[in-house]
């Protein structure tokens, strides 16, 4: 990290990384998702893909379901490339600062009317998401990367944060609320396809309401110290992964020895 990146990540709790993944890889992933979208739930389940729906678009009844999350790493293919993305992984290394694992890999779709309410912030009481700095080094315990797979504007329901909220000393009054772009605390993060936002899970974050007919597609990949467990099947891989994977990818998925530092 450059001195400015360190300063900004500490100050705001997130970093914007333009063009984190190539256009070609973005295209491959979108093509694969197009195929996956043609499957019904039963067919998806047979392939090990499980959709968690968000039916919160009462204002847009013609667009149910309004969004879902999915364990897309078990799809394999181009998604495996992001396990150890060379553009972003060095940041994770600096932010966690000890042996770490990939603890979650999730695909999110947000259709018209869908959003993710604000959550986290004041998370010192939520131990698995702690933001910490000791002796000039980051010691975060959960760092996430949101990769945009499509251009997404504020109106199209982009990611949104409350910068600085990872250091709040008070209960988060906006927990569970829809992010409001007009509120002086809120910062929407519009992205181009291939851009990434790296953020500490301690930061208050969510997404704007998608007011367009365009579907937002985002990959969320999460990393944590080795002693923390993975999020269920969100780290399941496709058949043959072990043969294809690099040693670094294998270590990130299996997790380094959890209590090796004694």
């Amino acid at each position: 990290m450059t001195p400015e990146e360190r300063y900004l990540f500490d100050l705001q709790g997130f970093l914007f990384i333009p063009e984190a993944i190539s256009k070609d890889l973005v295209q491959q992933m979108n093509d694969d998702i197009d195929q996956m979208e043609s499957l019904n739930d039963e067919e998806a389940n047979k392939l090990g893909l499980y959709r968690k729906y968000h039916n919160n678009n009462k204002d847009h009844p013609g667009h149910n379901p309004s969004g879902y999350d999915c364990n897309i790493l078990s799809r394999g293919g181009p998604f495996e490339a992001l396990i150890d993305c060379p553009r972003t992984l060095p940041y994770i290394d600096s932010m966690i600062n000890e042996p770490f694992r990939l603890d979650g890999y999730m695909f999110m779709i947000r259709n018209q009317g869908c959003r993710t309410v604000f959550h986290h912030g004041y998370a010192e009481l939520l131990p698995y998401s702690e933001f910490a700095v000791e002796e000039g080094e980051f010691k975060c315990v959960s760092v996430k990367i949101a990769y945009a797979l499509r251009d997404v504007s504020v109106e199209e329901g982009c990611f949104a944060v409350i910068p600085g909220s990872h250091k709040s000393n008070f209960d988060n009054p906006f927990e569970g609320m829809n992010p409001d772009k007009n509120h002086p605390l809120v910062e929407p993060c519009p992205c181009k396809a291939g851009d990434a936002v790296i953020f500490t899970e301690d930061l208050t974050h969510g997404s704007m309401i998608n007011q367009s007919k365009k579907t937002r597609r985002t990959l969320f990949i999460s990393y944590a110290p080795a002693f923390q467990s993975p999020w269920g099947k969100l780290v399941d891989t496709a058949d043959g992964f072990e043969e294809r994977a690099t040693s670094r990818q294998l270590e990130l998925i299996r997790g380094p020895s959890p209590f090796a530092i004694v």
Binding site: Y50, Y122, E124, N169, D171, F174, V186, S229, P258, I261
Partner: protein, 281 residues
């Protein structure tokens, strides 16, 4: 900002506020925060001490399939001793142990990370762990926040199965070292020469709960073998110590106990999130 309609979330399941659970007295909470440990006298009654001693000795001779024995110089460590059943299994849910652990770690979101039976022989050597910020093991972190909400990571309960006092096989600690900002300079010093080290005299059946982030060690017994039981708890998302994963047999036989089931289940983040729950093996 417009508030969305929210379902009433039970306080225990709410992420961003405290659990509000209070089991320790104000004096105990204050003591634990300042010193990093709490002593519980007569945690086991004499019959339970005898049962635990016999079980550990039997396991050392004839270990069961799910218990691993690690032999070091003058010391035997029986990993995953909870599998032995009986008092060694029941102790994990004793109210006097579990309630403080829940308060110190994360309410009902605690799990058993490791269990051990220890047999220390005369001559056993143990180095004093680093504490506070100098402890490189981030999983031991001691934390206490607003209004006394603890969020400690690994926390240990050590149960003495012999009378230990006067430096003879005693458990010893550096009080308050869980908040130390500097490494202790005693790595190459014998425990007897560390003036700031405090022996905790324990009778057979007494227990001590301490933050793993506290500098601690067990001194060698002088004449006979000393037995200990150690249970380590952590937040629900902390992995089991290698070799301490609950076996299928243990999970099956404890199914009737909601508390044991919760303590022995695979690591998890959100107890109410059926999406993750359903797809976790």
């Amino acid at each position: 900002m417009e508030k969305k309609t929210k379902k009433k979330v039970p306080r225990l399941l709410k992420l961003q506020t405290g659990t509000g659970e209070r089991h320790l007295s104000d004096e105990e909470r204050h003591f634990f925060d300042i010193k990093g440990y709490l002593v519980m006298e007569n945690f086991f009654v004499p019959n339970q001490v005898n049962e635990a001693r016999e079980a550990i000795q039997d396991m050392a001779k004839k270990p069961s399939a799910n218990i691993t024995i690690e032999r070091k110089d003058y010391e035997l460590e029986l990993l995953n001793i909870v599998e032995a059943g009986g008092i060694l299994e029941d102790a994990i849910i004793f109210k006097r142990l579990l309630q403080p652990m829940e308060e110190i770690i994360w309410g009902s979101q605690v799990r058993l990370v490791a269990s051990r039976g220890l047999i220390k022989e005369p001559g056993s050597i143990e180095t004093l762990t680093q504490g506070g910020k100098a402890d490189p093991r981030r999983y031991t972190k001691y934390r206490c926040f607003v209004e006394g909400e603890f969020r400690c990571l690994m926390t240990t309960c050590l149960i003495a199965l012999n009378n230990c006092s006067n430096g003879n096989g005693t458990f010893c600690i550096i009080p308050a070292s869980h908040k130390s900002n500097f490494p202790h300079p005693y790595s190459n010093t014998s425990l007897e020469s560390v003036s700031v080290l405090k022996d905790i005299a324990l009778k057979a059946g007494d227990a001590i709960i301490f933050s793993e982030n506290l500098s601690h060690a067990i001194k060698s017994p002088i004449n006979e073998k000393y037995l200990w039981l150690s249970y380590q708890y952590g937040p629900s998302y902390m992995l089991s110590w290698p070799g301490c994963e609950a076996s299928k047999e243990l999970r099956t036989r404890t199914m009737d106990s909601e508390i044991k089931t919760r303590l022995l289940k695979t690591p998890y983040y959100h107890p109410w999130d059926y999406y993750y729950k359903d797809i976790v093996n």
